[in-house]
């Protein structure tokens, strides 16, 4: 566990670059990663930025919310929704999205891309 965390955490941005209760897109190691700061729940989530439905780099511009207790993201294009914690598609049969661990330390946000 310890070795894993040393090798894979990437500095993504500072907390003030993020948007409360919304998403931003980051370019990390040539990948597009969507980072969500769910302030209402005091939770951070990172996922792939591509919506699998029409394969558009767009999820960071979607609306976050909850389904029951599950945090979710809705794609702005066709409102396909995905669980932020597991990546599972919550509306229909789309592919699940990749999710990445996030940690916040000293005002910096770190994302672990290889998990």
């Amino acid at each position: 566990m310890e070795t894993l965390s040393i090798t894979s955490w990437k500095l993504a941005c500072r907390v003030e670059d993020t948007i409360e209760n919304g998403g931003i897109c980051l370019k990390l190691a040539d990948q597009q990663v969507a980072l969500f700061y769910f302030k209402r729940r005091n939770e951070w989530y990172a996922t792939q930025n591509e919506c699998p439905h029409k394969r558009q780099m767009i999820l960071s511009r979607g609306m976050i919310g909850s389904l029951g207790d599950q945090p979710k993201i809705a794609c702005p294009f066709h409102k396909k929704t995905f669980a932020l914690d597991t990546g599972e598609c919550l509306s229909g049969d789309e592919c699940a999205i990749k999710t990445y661990p996030v940690k916040v330390e000293n005002g910096c946000v770190y994302i672990a891309l290889q998990n």
């Binding site: 209760n21 370019k27 209402r40 558009q56 702005p76 929704t81």
Partner: protein, 839 residues
């Protein structure tokens, strides 16, 4: 721990369903399927359609790579030949040896062919597989007369297939004294027979075929009563026999007349082996329909995954359309005195027969038969299965469609939530109603996608449609049309509450009035209410993340993730200087330009981080936001009117500009479109708008609640010959009334259609001020108009808002390199959608 291995023998409908069910279960299982046919599972129920408009592709049950994607090993054209139950291992025809933890027989059935001399002649076919159909199709091309042995459900289907293939004279030969002996009685059979005869299908009953005539090829049939029938093609469909030969060889216990004996968990005499579908014998019965087969698949999958589910027999009710003739049988169709009383309707004139079997005390329905007219089948079946009380005069149920005087849906209302509507998929009334109320389904098709209801045999589709209509109607009537799981209020209630509590951000509304953490339904709705109430810049106070896609970035998102930009061009009037600026901006930022339907110019293909730059230039030239992205006033279209036109009565352009500038930016339940025409020739098409104005000799005529779009509707006259000031006053009231009371995403036309009292009522409210609200609404509108500011002007000058217009937060100058364009007619267009990642 290694996943347990489940081997499935047979890839028919039930075998496929089993794979679907088990692959969703935990823990994971390793699934291996062996199928005898060369193609993967297809819809055998609709096999006859294959001869009609459907292709093989339409009939396949799973998408192309479904098995692969679900990690299921599928061996087609490779039946299992041998089973070693001691070592738990199967061997296939191709020599594949596979061990198993569980083995599932889904071998189905084969057509039963009575022993008749001559069965081997050319032109004699069975009716079971796609291959059978292909052979029949090929042979039928040369045949003139056809026959089917077997007058049951399948036999009649096969006869229909022959008729569809263009065979002029087709006969059905049945051994029993009636058609469909397991489903209908003699009187029903005789009505059905007459109907089929009229359609070119002759039925011979009580005929025992003794020989198939002809040398190499069939030429006819000979019967025990010494009669003969000429025929060039023959289909045998005299029933089914379970495919149990492999099970027998493996030493499993069979029933006395065949079928693999199973218990209520579908387990055979060997606890590691299961049998489902038409090869399984449960409680002395082979279930020859797909719905019970699906139920068995579900029971076996559940049992294997270690949970509890029992098969307790299954309702064999059925409804089908035979060459356009409805035939249905439900509950116990044959029960008689003293256990039941029957009510009969026989209409030889119209070819209708109906039989209801009711309990001796007259309170419950036990079963029945419908021929010729079966619209009430689903409701009658529900009445039986849910043991619902009968009306005082149960004979009225026989009249079916004539009893329209009853309030529609009265029967649906009485149906319990638990009533099983789609028995193939096990979907209840409550689930269907939920799909409508919670998930916004408005058509049976949406419900089908959402719940799978109606995707099996399709028999329940009419009832699903009724339920959708009933549920929607109910919503429209008693609007407790709550918004979503986060707000237990209707839009109108929430509007008033936000106003009373003076809430100004989405978060405060959710904290004070809702639960949970919001969603893509309530966020834009609340944002719209906040904007309608306070008209504050929609991206301020952290409300940006609660705005819908387009409002969030004040532009319309397009394929690829770029945006289109629509500057306001009030009334469609624009100076050459401004036109040049639009052209220059489009050139500079590489935008595709198109004239819109509302007399404006749309600039497509703008990158997110170019939007503020584009708008800075547009604003500098005197443009402002056109709100094409918002549920707000779009455009007020106009004709040139009296300024140029020789027919024009008044200055329609000036009035259009005045109206557009008054209501610009105001958020409403849906978009608003308007137009002003300078005379009755109506060049601005005002009567197709949410509000439209047409000049008359004496003033203006005001029309409201028109609509183009998918359901065009003409606007209705609200007031005539009014002056400009009165017109604006009426519009203030009309718009505020709409903003206050309409359901989310409801255009004015739909809003009026749902309004009790219709246009008369609306006129009373707006013109006569029957609600005494006119002064309040006019004041509210004045406040909104006074609070207007161009959103884009605010956005480009507020650094906090402006910094959100980037794609990569950590590389703000970079553009999304995945955006692709193509060239068409000298301009760019968005590349087509990428192929989806399939699950």
């Amino acid at each position: 721990m290694n996943a347990k291995k489940v081997v499935i023998i047979g890839n028919g409908m039930v075998g496929h369903r089993f794979c679907e069910k088990l692959s969703k279960k935990q823990p994971n299982f390793e699934l291996v399927v062996f199928g005898e046919e060369p193609i993967p599972a297809y819809d055998r129920v609709h096999l006859t359609d294959y001869l009609g408009k459907k292709t093989l592709d339409d009939l396949f049950l799973a998408k192309n790579k479904w098995y692969e994607e679900n990690n299921i090993e599928l061996h087609l054209h490779d039946p299992i030949l041998q089973i070693n139950t001691a070592e738990k291992c199967v061997i296939s025809q191709n020599g594949i040896q596979t061990p198993y933890d569980y083995l599932v027989f889904a071998t189905g059935s084969a057509p039963f062919a009575p022993v008749i001399p001559g069965l081997d002649k050319e032109g004699v076919f069975l009716y079971r597989t796609i291959e059978d159909l292909d052979r029949i199709k090929a042979y039928a091309a040369t045949a003139r007369k056809g026959a089917v042995i077997g007058g049951g459900l399948l036999g009649l289907e096969a006869a229909k297939a022959l008729v569809d293939l263009g065979i002029q004279e087709t006969a059905v030969v049945e051994f029993a004294p009636r058609l469909m002996p397991r489903q209908i009685d003699d009187m029903a059979s005789s009505i059905l027979q007459n109907k089929l005869q009229a359609l070119g299908l002759t039925c011979f009953l009580q005929k025992s075929t003794t020989q198939i005539l002809g040398d190499q090829q069939i030429t006819g049939l000979a019967f025990a009563d010494d009669t003969q029938l000429e025929s060039d093609i023959l289909i045998i469909s005299a029933g089914i026999k379970p495919r149990d030969e492999l099970a027998k060889a493996a030493g499993l216990t069979l029933g006395p007349r065949g079928g693999i004996l199973v218990d209520e968990h579908m387990r055979t005499s060997d606890p590691a082996i299961f049998a489902i579908g038409e090869c399984a014998l449960y409680n002395d019965m082979i279930y020859g329909l797909v719905a019970p087969g699906y139920e068995m698949a579900s029971v076996a999958a559940t049992t294997i995954s270690g949970e509890q589910q029992r098969f307790t027999g299954f309702d064999m009710s059925t409804k089908l359309k035979l060459m356009g003739v409805d035939v249905a049988s439900f509950g116990d169709p044959f029960i008689t005195e003293p256990h039941a009383r029957t009510i009969l309707l026989e209409d030889k004139n119209k070819g209708i027969y109906k039989r209801l079997n009711i309990s001796p005390d007259g309170t419950r329905l036990l079963g029945g038969i419908l021929v010729g007219e079966a619209a009430s089948y689903n409701m009658l079946l529900q009445t039986v299965t849910n043991n619902m009380p009968l009306p005082e005069h149960p004979e009225t149920l026989l009249l079916g469609e004539q009893s329209e005087s009853k309030p529609a849906g009265a029967g649906l209302e009485a149906l319990p939530d638990t009533a099983l509507i789609c028995s193939c998929e096990g979907i209840t009334k409550a689930q269907i109603c939920d799909a409508v109320t919670q998930q916004g389904c408005e058509h049976a098709d949406d419900v089908k996608k959402c719940t799978k209801a109606g995707s099996g045999c399709g028999g329940c589709v009419p009832m699903v449609k009724d339920l959708v209509a009933y549920t929607l109607k109910k919503q429209g009537k008693y609007i407790r049309n709550t918004i979503c799981e986060h707000f237990n209020f209707s839009r109108q209630e929430l509007f008033d509450l936000i106003k009373i509590h003076e809430l100004r951000t989405y978060d405060s509304v959710l904290d004070d009035l809702g639960t949970g953490h919001g969603c893509e339904v309530c966020k834009p709705l609340v944002s719209s209410l906040l904007a309608s109430l306070w008209n504050e810049m929609i991206l301020s106070k952290g409300n940006d993340v609660a705005q819908d896609s387009n409002d969030r970035f004040l532009a319309n998102i397009q394929r690829g993730g770029t945006y289109s930009v629509v500057p306001r061009i009030p009334g469609g009037e624009i100076t050459p200087e401004k036109l040049i600026v639009i052209g220059e901006v489009a050139q500079k930022y590489g935008l595709y330009t198109k004239i819109t339907g509302g007399q404006r110019i749309d600039l497509f293909g703008a990158y997110l981080n170019d939007l503020p730059l584009i708008w800075e230039e547009l604003i500098a030239a005197g443009f402002e936001s056109g709100h094409a992205y918002g549920k707000a006033l779009r455009t007020v279209k106009s004709c040139v009117g009296s300024t140029w036109c020789r027919f024009g009565l008044h200055d329609s352009v000036s009035f259009a500009i005045q109206i557009e500038e008054r209501y610009r930016g105001i958020r409403s339940p849906h978009k608003l479109k308007s137009a002003v025409s300078g005379c009755i020739r109506e060049c601005a098409e005002a009567q197709s708008k949410d509000f439209g104005i047409i000049a008359t000799e004496k003033g203006w005529n005001l029309y409201v609640c028109g609509n183009g779009g998918s359901k065009p509707q003409h606007a209705q006259l609200l007031a005539s010959d009014i002056d400009s000031a009165t017109c604006l006053r009426y519009l203030d009231r009309f718009l505020m009334f709409y903003i206050h009371t309409a359901d989310p995403l409801t255009r004015t036309a739909t809003w009026l259609n749902k309004m009790e009292g219709g246009i008369e009522y609306l006129r009373n409210v707006v013109v006569e001020d029957s609600l005494d609200m006119a002064a309040t609404w006019e004041k509210e509108m004045d406040a909104l108009v006074a609070a207007y500011q161009c959103e884009w002007k605010v956005a480009v000058s507020d650094p906090e808002i402006r910094k959100r217009f980037v794609h990569f937060v950590n590389a703000p100058a970079e553009k999304d390199e995945t955006v692709k364009f193509e060239v068409m007619r000298g301009q760019k267009k968005a590349a087509d959608w990428n192929a989806p990642v399939t699950p």
